[in-house]
Symmetry: D2
Subunit: 269 residues, 4 copies
């Protein structure tokens, strides 16, 4: 029993980094609308012993709610990560390689780069582009080194706006996020996975919609770094912790280009 007690569970705090999933939640228009439908209800069918059950049908996507992008989600000029022809790895069973089942669950350190706090705000302005310089200064602020093979969570405060559909999706005013040089900064640190709070881990300009995704290209295709999107980071940001123990285990959907996940952060209690 000493083994488990050594994990200092009693003196730790566990934070939920996933947004609640429900019909009508903010999501990208590219994906099928998330929908939960109660199919059988209590009383519909009652067994001889008086027992009855309710259950639902769920229509979702690998890119709805808090989720992890598989490396094979994006291609560039027909080529996916590792130089594979994208057309060669896709079929009616999904991706034959680079699918989300290849993402080994992550249990390890995550450095929290709180760019909002760096700029003295709760939420970065819509359309703000996070730069490499922002990340360097946020790293100093965190007091924790970004290391190869580990995770980075970038704070924009955007998850605070989850309940404001139009603001969160940012179709009009845009969404803050990393620009290409921030992506190269992350790639140069050889991290394993990065996470953010908005629908897409990109800076979206006002009124532009999601026209290009340079950060997806740099991270997924070029650097082989998985991306976590739509994370609920605000509680972690409020804690002021520069790092946390991150637990990130997406559903093992074979061949999927992404999968929902309920990440947890463990911090001192």
């Amino acid at each position: 029993m000493a083994y488990i007690d050594g994990y200092r569970l009693a003196s730790s705090r566990v934070l939920d980094l996933a947004q609640p999933m429900r019909t009508g939640m903010p999501q990208s228009a590219n994906h099928p609308p998330f929908r939960v439908i109660l199919e059988r209800r209590h009383g519909d069918y009652v067994r001889g012993d008086g027992g009855s059950a309710a259950d639902e049908v769920i229509v979702t996507s690998g890119h709805i709610g808090t989720h992890v992008d598989a490396l094979g989600h994006v291609s560039h000029n027909g080529v996916a990560h590792g130089g594979v022809a994208a057309s060669a790895i896709q079929g009616y069973r999904g991706l034959s390689s680079l699918g989300i089942e290849n993402f080994t669950p992550y249990l390890g350190r995550a450095v929290v780069l709180d760019v909002a706090r760096l700029h003295g705000v709760d939420v970065l302005p819509a359309g703000y582009e996070i730069t490499a310089d922002d990340l360097s200064r946020a790293e100093a602020l965190a007091g924790s080194d970004v290391r190869s093979g580990e995770a980075v969570l970038i704070g924009t405060g955007w998850s605070r706006l989850w309940d404001q559909y139009d603001v969160f999706t940012g179709l009009r005013a845009g969404v803050p996020g990393p620009g290409p040089d921030a992506a190269y900064w992350l790639a140069s640190r050889r991290v394993r996975v990065v996470g953010g709070e908005s629908l897409a881990f990109e800076r979206i300009g006002p009124g532009l919609g999601e026209t290009t995704y340079p950060v997806h290209r740099i991270l997924l295709v070029e650097a082989g770094i998985n991306i976590v999107e739509t994370m609920r980071l605000h509680e972690l940001l409020d804690s002021g912790c520069g790092e946390c123990l991150l637990i990130l285990a997406p559903l093992p959907i074979v061949g999927a280009t992404g999968a929902p996940v309920r990440p947890l952060a463990v911090i001192p209690g």
Copy 2:
């Protein structure tokens, strides 16, 4: 950084306790067949910068693959856990109380009660009923006390049969699982959550199908103990560990009667 290093990540081993999810995997006939469909493929739409993406539609249920049953999943004589009328908490938005979003992610000790090992087999026979006595003896074998508020995982070895659809579903020969007195044993220990390897955390007799679910009634309705089903425990059983650090964070689907989960076990490396 000392905080995270204190978690002894370097000397721990992380086990994946979820079965892989794919179209055609074993599941209960009560639920909609799991299906993943690649909707957009690479090349379907190519942006001006050469970028393209693939993504899918997923049709699933809260009770497919490795998943956690919400307390409101089952009722008895019209009454759900806590004496609530089941008809009063269900609607087109799902459950208004007792839904899976009320399950706080669990990060804590799990005692492994390996009943298969107790009987000197890799896999318990189809239709075998686990008794309270089995659990008491398996607890002694584990060398770890089952405590109030914690988790219990029951080993039958059944997860080794995942790739044998007909055997795993057990429609003909049955499935091993706890009987009512084993359920009362678990309830008396006031655990928070219990997990097993088969489709339903029940003993299914040969040829009987899933006629009654006494264990669901005892645990969910009477005792308020959540159930994890279809866990991939065999690797944990093979480790011989009597306990592990269990991480159990089901998708936070609001109003759902259950939700998919990818549980992890952490054991000494």
Copy 3:
């Protein structure tokens, strides 16, 4: 062969009264978004003889596109058509009575009441309420009597706006449609089925959304008259025909509250 030739097919014209169904078409927000997803594509799987097939998954509703409402679609104060308690006829298999499978395909006369033409316009104004007087005058204009057991199609010209999503759904400006006294007029004629061009066979006021559905109550619950919605009538209106042979055979989805249909009108060629 004389039998078929007697149908004067050579001298008749067949009009398509259904709107084309595609992802993103106008629909009520109450229903799951219509979606067609190509699952298998040519080349995904090629048989030994060189053959390959493509097919799709379709997520729809009984109330999307051109469709027929079953009598059991709507209830009033808990009571459905014929005085049945609505709660007694619904379950996880759908409606046990009053479902769309009880609608015998209709092949017979339909009188065309062109209220738009009556008012000298191509399309009635958004929010216009059709009155009983409108219907009486449109009947005179048609030169064809509305008879018991037959069909009535009401022309508003609204189907001309199908390609203008925001206008067609009318969330801001409203939608023209029958008011309660027009519904009573139809009920008094004891017709079997009535059809219109907008999403709901109701007058929707500007900015009101779909707050109440008096016409559904009068026709479905009280009078037992089925309703066809979202019909593509403009070509028929343009023909100037006061009546047509209507063929109306909705999909026989057992227990459904409505079903898609592709109605045809046959008029002199």
Copy 4:
């Protein structure tokens, strides 16, 4: 009014040629299981005026229940009807050409080639291969010429077995249907559309499953003749009519490789 009365509706009989659609009905394993789920039920939401509605979600395919195959459903060696490269006409919006929306609703003569009656049986044996000679003799029996541009319905009696899932799907014993030379016979007559009673308009041998589809290739790819499958013809066969007026208007699902349909036959009353 004389126009409609000229259609001799009073002295005609309308037969329903569609099988009822419900969860669990026989279907090909290639397609997503048909499922109807009541989403909102009466009483879930009651408006201020006492009104309430029930509606459903439907998961289906273009090839489930009685349906019409689009010409683009099948390809051979990568080529679809008209010599088009199959890869060039498919995308995430479905087929850009040869989709079911290109099938103009058919209202015209259908000759009934009752091969079962020809052989003096109600239902042809499982695995029976219909030959060109069968069709020629059945045409003589029908007393009605198969003409260019018209429809042919082939009677096997198989629709009588709809309620026997295992027999109807024929996975073990096979299914009767046309062989290649019957298909060439149909192609040589330049008909517009052909229909049959089983899941696939093919002869399926015992235990072979659906290994090859030569008839689909000949009719769809080579001859450009649409196929209607899973028709409920037995009532028409029992009528003894050698021809009927066939009304065949599949749902106009844009880009789909097939679509459900509720065909009607009109015969002398």
